[in-house]
């Protein structure tokens, strides 16, 4: 933000509150100020993390969640891009379908879970369908907007050069929609992780980090819940960073945005 404050000072300030929080946590759990069932001491959280990691199958849970996330994400993104492309390139199809799509979009995502569980059960299939749905919506919206906003002069050039439909798609619409598609995919990745967590909460069958958290809650094992929640946050954070990096790399040809 500014050069007046040195980086070292900013870091020092940044870690003050978290450190303070840890000290208060450690102090209050050691002195018995707070019931350890509500606030387990730090070392018991670490011990639980270690137990889950080496004794139980934390890695397997994590991989299951990630695999689910990835399957749903790929499915939702692929179908979403294809669907939005058709709608954007055919004005009639767009006018027919988009209003209905926008209506369905209003139903908040988690509200689909009961219906999905009726249609697809509680197993893997239902979870992947739900994750795919979560990813589908932002991908469609952004891809559609991106394709519709293809610059008119480029379209005119295409007409002058007598491009056929395929050339128009590959040379004009797709490249000019790329940034929007990337945004859609980025959002889709974030949403699909949220949906993975949601699916594992509500369709709690099979391995997964969400299942771990729910199990921890049922056993009143605060340490386990904390470990699970921290992992949820870390994975979300990493996915977000990954998407941002990939996005920047793929769009490096784009002239720098006017800030």
């Amino acid at each position: 933000m500014s050069g007046t404050t040195s980086t070292a000072l900013r870091i020092r300030r940044g870690i003050t509150l978290p450190l303070l929080l840890l000290v208060v946590w450690e102090f209050s759990s050691r002195t018995g100020l707070v019931d350890p069932r509500f606030l387990p001491p730090l070392e018991s959280v670490i011990a639980t993390a270690r137990r889950e990691l080496f004794g139980n199958d934390l890695i397997f849970d994590l991989l299951s969640s990630l695999a689910r996330n990835l399957c749903g994400f790929l499915l939702g993104a692929a179908v979403g891009i294809a669907f939005a492309t058709v709608l954007a390139l055919s004005p009639l199809a767009g006018r027919l379908v988009m209003p209905t799509f926008n209506g369905f979009k209003q139903i908040s995502l988690l509200a689909w879970i009961p219906l999905i569980s009726v249609w697809f059960g509680f197993g893997e299939q239902a979870k992947i369908v739900f994750v795919a749905l979560a990813c589908f919506i932002p991908v469609v919206l952004n891809t559609y907007d991106g394709m519709r906003d293809a610059p008119a002069d480029l379209i005119e050039v295409g007409r002058a050069l007598q491009f056929n439909a395929r050339q128009r798609f590959w040379r004009i619409y797709l490249p000019s929609a790329m940034p929007a598609i990337a945004t859609g995919i980025h959002l889709g990745l974030i949403y699909s992780w949220l949906a993975t967590v949601g699916a594992e909460y509500f369709l709690a069958v099979g391995p997964g980090i969400g299942g771990l958290v729910i199990a921890g809650r049922e056993r009143f094992d605060m340490a386990m819940v904390m470990v699970g929640v921290i992992i949820l946050g870390l994975v979300g954070f990493s996915l977000n960073r990954l998407a941002a990096t990939v996005e920047n790399h793929l769009l490096r040809w784009r002239p720098p945005r006017a800030a």
């Binding site: 404050t5 988690l110 958290v213 949820l232």
Partner: protein
């Protein structure tokens, strides 16, 4: 502005044509829902769809009528709305205060932002089980979860709004020797208002989504509860009605804010 004049000319010159075009668009938009409804109806009539997969539309209408007549639906919508409004009001006020504090003072930003971002990183859904252990499954849980949902976008947008105040305005304020309070009230806050509004919109949307999540996990009334209960009893008509109600309320809230936002933008434009 240019776009506006063109539409005005169109509206003045060819009002019937514009009107007809709009009607055509509306009719086209309704075609697909009508077709889907017809398909649903036929499929249920012919027994292609099992009753446990999708109930007959007539049953859904009847259930809707019953729930409206008995006041059940209104009751559950009311419960959910109350929770969202309380949680949102708390979250928005806290977010506004935090965003302003972080935006105005670099020191506060340096101290608070890293911790805030770390907390914000964990999805609202992730907090629910943890909070359930801490505060139980009562009304407090719902309010806290919804507050968190509204707080994060509100804080971040307010913060961005204050940081994005054009330096030119600040220079004018300096030249006029505004006091700190005048600077805040006359320059910084008005300039940040569009951002704050974005924060309010996202905040309300997040609050509504969080409400559905928390009501699905732990509730004995409200729309989310209606979903869970309908699912357990295999009353899919109830499930569908609850979904529709969630969509309609979300739509109305978003639409209302959208309109207010445009009103405010118009004020801003006339000001400039």
């Amino acid at each position: 502005m240019a776009v506006l004049t063109v539409t005005e000319v169109h509206a003045a010159g060819g009002a019937p044509r514009v009107w007809r075009k709009r009607t055509m668009r509306g009719l086209t938009a309704l075609l697909l829902p009508a077709a889907l409804l017809l398909l649903w109806w036929t499929a249920s009539d012919r027994g292609w769809l099992a009753e446990q997969i999708l109930p007959h539309p007539v049953y859904v209408f009847e259930a809707l009528r019953d729930m409206l007549a008995s006041g059940d639906l209104v009751y559950h919508v009311g419960v959910s709305l109350r929770r969202v409004l309380i949680g949102f009001a708390i979250g928005a006020c806290l977010g506004l205060a935090l965003g302003i504090a972080m935006g105005l003072s670099e020191r506060v930003e340096d101290y608070v932002k890293p911790l805030f971002l770390a907390f914000a990183q964990i999805p609202t859904l992730g907090w629910i089980p943890l909070l359930m252990l801490l505060v139980g499954i009562g009304e407090t849980l719902k309010i806290i979860v919804i507050t968190k949902g509204a707080l994060v976008p509100m804080t971040l947008n307010t913060f961005a709004g204050i940081r994005n105040v054009s330096p030119r305005y600040l220079e004018v304020a300096d030249a006029l020797r505004f006091t700190r309070w005048q600077r805040l009230r006359l320059v910084i806050l008005p300039a940040a208002i569009p951002f704050v509004f974005t924060g309010i919109r996202y905040g309300l949307t997040h609050a509504w989504t969080s409400l559905v999540g928390v009501e699905l996990l732990a509730s004995s009334e409200g729309l989310g509860y209606l979903l869970v209960w309908g699912r357990q009893m295999f009353w899919l008509d109830t499930v569908i009605i609850a979904m529709l109600a969630i969509g309609v309320v979300g739509f109305i809230m978003d639409g209302g804010l959208n309109r207010t936002e445009r009103l405010i933008q118009r004020w801003k434009r006339s000001e400039i």
